[in-house]
C-alpha cells in the first residue's frame, strides 16, 4: 500500500510540495493520504522508516508525518537518525498515547507538532502547512546561500580580502594602507566585487558578507 497516488495538480510538478507519511498501520496511512489529497496536497506513504530511507526524495518543500510507535525503530529514534544523516525535514509526530516526556523530547529535537490520535483534521492540516512553509523558507535560504557561495567562489583571493575589509566599514584609503596597494586599485577591486557578487549596494554586500560569515580576520566564509 505504498502506492503513490497521481498528483491532482499535474501542472505544478517539480515545485509542488509533498507530504511524507510513515505509519505501520495501513488504514491510518490510507486515511492520511486521503485527507491530504482531498485538500490537494501531494502525498507519499511508507510502512516503515526503512522504506522511507530507501526512496529518493524529490528536491521540493516537504514534511514528514511520523507515528511515534513504529515497529523496530521508534519515531523518536528515527528523528535522531535523520538528523545524523543531515536530512533536515520538518517532522510532525502522531501517537496513540502521547506522554509529556516523549512530547518534550520530540519538540526539543525540532518536531513541528505532536498530535494525539485521533486528531482534528484541521490540526493536522495546519501542522502540515506550517511544516511545509518552514521547509520552503529553509530551502530558499539554503538555495540563496548556495548561490552566494558560488558567486563568492568566483572572487580572486585579493578581491575576497578587499571584500572582508569593505564590509567592516573601512574606507578605500584605509584599505589601501592596510594591505599596501594603491587606492585606485582598491576601487577597481570593489567594482569587480560588486559586479561578481551581484550586490546592488554596499549594505547589500554587507548582508551577503554576514550570511557568508566573512569577518576582517578571515579570508573566506566561515561555514
Amino acid at each position: 500500500m505504498t502506492g503513490r497516488p497521481a498528483s491532482p495538480h499535474t501542472l505544478a510538478s517539480a515545485e509542488e510540495p509533498v507530504v511524507f507519511v510513515v505509519d505501520d498501520d495501513a488504514s491510518m496511512r490510507d486515511a492520511l493520504s486521503n485527507l491530504f489529497r482531498s485538500v490537494g496536497l501531494r502525498v507519499e506513504v511508507f510502512g516503515s522508516a526503512h522504506e522511507f530511507l530507501q526512496s529518493t526524495l524529490p528536491n521540493v518543500a516537504s514534511c514528514l508525518i511520523l507515528d511515534i510507535r513504529l515497529p523496530r525503530l521508534s519515531g523518536l529514534d528515527f528523528q535522531a537518525e535523520l538528523a545524523k544523516a543531515d536530512i533536515h525535514i520538518p517532522i510532525i509526530f502522531m501517537t496513540g498515547h502521547g506522554d509529556i516526556p516523549m512530547t518534550v523530547r520530540a519538540m526539543k529535537a525540532g518536531a513541528v507538532d505532536f498530535l494525539t490520535k485521533p486528531f482534528r483534521d484541521q490540526d493536522m492540516l495546519d501542522a502540515v502547512t506550517t511544516a511545509i512553509e518552514r521547509d520552503r523558507v529553509s530551502r530558499d535560504e539554503a538555495r540563496m546561500l548556495a548561490g552566494l557561495h558560488a558567486r563568492f567562489a568566483t572572487l580572486t583571493p585579493r578581491e575576497r580580502e578587499v571584500m572582508a575589509l569593505v564590509t567592516t566599514g573601512l574606507m578605500n584609503k584605509q584599505i589601501a594602507a592596510q594591505i599596501g596597494i594603491a587606492e585606485i586599485t582598491v576601487k577597481i577591486h570593489r567594482g569587480h566585487i560588486m559586479r561578481k557578487m551581484a550586490a546592488k549596494s554596499l549594505p547589500d554586500l554587507v548582508r551577503m558578507a554576514e550570511m557568508l560569515g566573512i569577518g576582517p580576520a578571515s579570508g573566506g566564509p566561515q561555514t
Binding site: 498501520d25 488504514s27 491510518m28 490510507d30 486515511a31 492520511l32 486521503n34 485527507l35 489529497r37 482531498s38 485538500v39 510507535r69 502522531m94 496513540g96 498515547h97 490520535k117 485521533p118 486528531f119 482534528r120 483534521d121 484541521q122 493536522m124
Partner: protein, 583 residues
C-alpha cells in the same frame, strides 16, 4: 591393794585368836599353881571346865575363821579374774574403736588451738591422698587451697570461742594431687583432761553433691540464657492450688519483678483487656478438663506497649492426684509484626500486580482500538472535504466512506477479541457447592477480618443443591464483595463491624448475600455502581464490581445491590442450579 588389806586383817584375826588361847592356857596353869594341885574340887573343876570350854570355843572360832578366810580368798580370787576380764574387754573395745576411728568412711581430724593436726584417721588421710604420718604435726591448712585457708582458720576460731558447741560448714579441701574435695565439716572444741583445748572435726565428702549442684546451677543458667535468647519463658501452674511458678524470662516478659510465685489475678491484670475474657475461658476450660491448652494473646504493658505472646500448657497429674500444668510462653511480638508487614507487602504487591496487568491490558486495548478509530475520524474529515469541493468529488467520497466502514469493523473486531480473551477463562465450570466456596473465601480473608475488627456471621443454608460455576471466578466474586464490605465499614466508628454472608435456595437458583453495616451506597451512585472504573474509594480502580457483574452474568446469574433497612448495604447474586445432564 584392797585384796592385800583384807588378807592382812584376816591374818591379824587369827593371831588374836591364837593369842587369846595361849592367854587362857596360861591363866589355867596359873590358877593351878597358885591354888595347889588339890584345891577345893568344885572350884578346880570349874576352872578346868572353863579352860576346856574356852579351848573348845577357841578351836571352834579358829575353824570358823579358817572357813571364812577360805571363802574370802575365793571371793577375792574371783574378783581378780573378773578384773582381768574387764581389762581384756576394755583393750578389745579400744582396738575396735580404734578400728572404727581409723576406717570409718568419714574423715576425722583432731587439731589443737593453733591448728596443728594432733590426729587424723587413716581413711581421712587416704581420702586426701596422704599417709597419716604426713599430716600429723602439720598445720591443718596444708589440706586447704589458698583461697579457703582464711575460711578454715576462722571456722576453727569460731569453734574455739564456743567450746562444746557443734558447728558445721561446707568447705573445699585440696588433695595431695591438687584435686578438690568438697566436704561438709562438723566440728566442736573440747577441753582435754590435761586442760588442752582441741578441736574435733568430722568431714563428710560432698564432692559429688557439690558437682551435681554446680551442674544443676550451670544447667539452670544455660536454660535461663536460652529462655532469654529465645524469648521463651516457662511456667508451672497448679490448677487446684492456683499456685503459679514462673521462670525468670516469664517474669521479664510480663514485666514483673522476680518472685517465688505469682497470683493468677496479677497475671490477668497484664493481659490486654480485649483478650482477657478469651484467656479466662481458655484457662477455665483447661483447668476443668485437665487437658493441654494452647493460645495466643496480647499483653498490655504499663508503658502502653503491646506484646504478643503464645502460650502452651501441658497437663500433668501431680503426686496428690491434682492437675498441674507445665508450659512455655513465647514472646512472638516480632514475628507478629513481621507477619503483618508481610501481609501488607503481599497485599500491596497483589494490588500493584493487578493494577499493572490491568493497566497494560487497557493500554494495549486502547492502542488496538485507537488505531482504527483515528483512521475513521481522519477519513470522515477527508470525506467531508471531498464533498465540500466544487464540484463535490463523489467517487472519492464513496471510497472514503467504504474505508470508514472497514475501519469501524476493524475496531469492532478488536473488542470481539478482548471479549473472547475474557471468556476463555470461564470454561472451567463444574458442579460445586456454594457453601464450600464461601468457606474457602473466609479462610482467605481471615486476616483482614481480624485486622479490621470485623465480626463475621454466617447464615448458610444446609444441604444446598450444587451450582455449575467456575470455582476461582466464584471465589473472586465473593472475595470482592466481602472485601468491599470490610472496607465499607472502616469509616464506621460508632457501631460494631458485622459482616453477614448468607446462602439460600430461591426456587431454581441459589442466592448468595453479603451484608455489611458500613457507609452504604449513596443514591446518586447506585446506578453507576457496576460501571467499570467507577469508584468512591481513594485507592480503588473501580473494576471490582464491574468484573463481578460480568462473571455472574457469564454464569447466567444476576448481581445486584440494595441498601439495608438499617445501616450498610447488601450485595447479592444468584446462580442457577446445576441441572443434571444439561452440560
Amino acid at each position: 591393794m584392797m585384796r592385800n588389806q583384807t588378807v592382812k586383817s584376816w591374818r591379824s584375826a587369827e593371831q588374836w585368836l591364837l593369842g587369846s588361847m595361849v592367854l587362857a592356857l596360861a591363866m589355867a596353869a596359873f590358877i593351878w599353881l597358885v591354888l595347889g594341885p588339890a584345891p577345893a574340887a568344885p572350884a578346880y573343876l570349874t576352872a578346868v571346865v572353863l579352860l576346856i570350854a574356852s579351848l573348845l570355843a577357841s578351836l571352834f572360832m579358829m575353824l570358823r575363821v579358817g572357813t571364812t578366810r577360805r571363802q574370802m580368798e575365793a571371793v577375792l580370787h574371783g574378783r581378780a579374774r573378773a578384773e582381768q576380764h574387764a581389762i581384756e574387754a576394755l583393750r578389745h573395745s579400744e582396738a575396735q574403736w580404734k578400728e572404727v576411728f581409723e576406717h570409718n568412711p568419714v574423715m576425722y581430724f583432731m587439731v589443737d588451738a593453733a591448728g596443728t593436726v594432733l590426729s587424723v584417721n587413716t581413711f581421712g588421710a587416704a581420702q586426701l591422698g596422704y599417709a597419716v604420718s604426713e599430716l600429723l604435726g602439720q598445720s591443718v591448712l596444708k589440706v586447704f587451697p589458698a583461697e579457703e585457708q582464711h575460711a578454715a582458720r576462722s571456722n576453727v576460731a569460731i569453734c574455739l570461742e564456743n567450746i562444746g558447741q557443734t558447728h558445721s560448714w561446707e568447705i573445699c579441701k585440696v588433695r595431695k594431687d591438687g584435686s578438690a574435695l568438697w566436704v561438709r565439716e562438723n566440728a566442736k572444741a573440747v577441753r582435754r583432761v590435761d586442760n588442752q583445748l582441741i578441736v574435733l572435726i568430722a568431714c563428710e565428702d560432698v564432692t559429688e553433691r557439690k558437682q551435681a549442684e554446680n551442674a544443676l546451677r550451670q544447667s539452670e543458667m544455660y536454660l535461663a540464657e536460652a529462655q532469654r535468647l529465645s524469648h521463651t519463658g516457662s511456667f508451672g501452674w497448679g490448677a487446684g492450688s492456683g499456685e503459679i511458678f514462673w521462670s525468670e524470662e516469664t517474669f521479664r516478659m510480663f514485666g514483673f519483678d522476680k518472685a517465688p510465685s505469682i497470683k493468677f489475678a496479677t497475671v490477668m491484670q497484664r493481659v490486654h483487656p480485649d483478650d482477657r475474657a478469651r484467656v479466662q475461658r481458655t484457662i477455665d476450660c483447661a483447668s476443668s478438663d485437665g487437658k493441654d491448652f494452647e493460645h495466643g494473646y496480647r499483653l498490655l504493658m504499663p508503658d502502653g506497649a503491646v506484646k504478643h505472646v503464645h502460650a502452651t500448657g501441658h497437663a500433668v497429674t501431680d503426686a496428690s492426684g491434682g492437675v498441674e500444668f507445665v508450659g512455655a510462653v513465647t514472646d512472638v511480638t516480632a514475628r507478629k509484626q513481621a507477619e503483618v508487614e508481610l501481609h501488607e507487602a503481599q497485599t500491596n504487591l497483589a494490588h500493584v500486580t493487578r493494577v499493572t496487568a490491568l493497566g497494560e491490558m487497557a493500554a494495549s486495548i486502547a492502542h488496538e482500538v485507537n488505531q482504527p478509530l483515528a483512521a475513521v475520524v481522519t477519513n470522515a474529515a477527508a470525506c467531508l472535504r471531498w464533498l465540500d469541493r466544487e464540484p463535490a468529488n463523489l467517487k472519492e467520497a464513496r471510497s472514503t466512506v467504504q474505508s470508514i466502514v472497514k475501519d469501524g469493523n476493524r475496531a469492532g473486531e478488536v473488542i470481539q477479541r478482548v471479549r473472547a480473551l475474557a471468556n476463555k477463562t470461564a470454561d472451567q465450570k463444574a458442579p460445586l457447592r456454594v457453601n464450600e466456596v464461601v468457606n474457602e473465601v473466609i479462610s482467605l480473608v481471615q486476616h483482614d477480618l481480624l485486622s479490621h475488627r470485623v465480626a463475621l456471621r454466617l447464615e448458610l443454608a444446609p444441604a444446598l443443591p450444587p451450582v455449575l460455576a467456575d470455582r476461582i471466578q466464584l471465589q473472586q466474586v465473593i472475595l470482592n464483595l466481602v472485601v468491599n464490605g470490610i472496607e465499607a465499614m472502616q469509616p464506621v466508628k460508632d457501631r460494631p463491624h458485622e459482616l453477614v454472608i448468607g446462602t439460600r435456595q430461591d426456587e431454581s437458583q441459589v442466592l448468595v448475600t453479603v451484608s455489611d453495616c458500613g457507609v452504604g451506597v449513596a443514591a446518586e451512585n447506585a446506578d453507576r455502581l457496576f460501571d467499570a472504573f467507577f469508584t468512591t474509594k481513594s485507592s480503588g480502580m473501580g473494576m471490582g464490581l464491574s468484573i463481578c457483574r460480568s462473571i455472574v452474568d457469564a454464569h447466567g446469574g444476576r448481581l445486584s445491590a440494595s441498601g439495608n433497612v438499617g445501616p450498610g448495604a447488601t450485595f447479592q447474586f444468584t446462580l442457577p442450579l446445576h441441572q443434571e445432564g444439561s452440560t
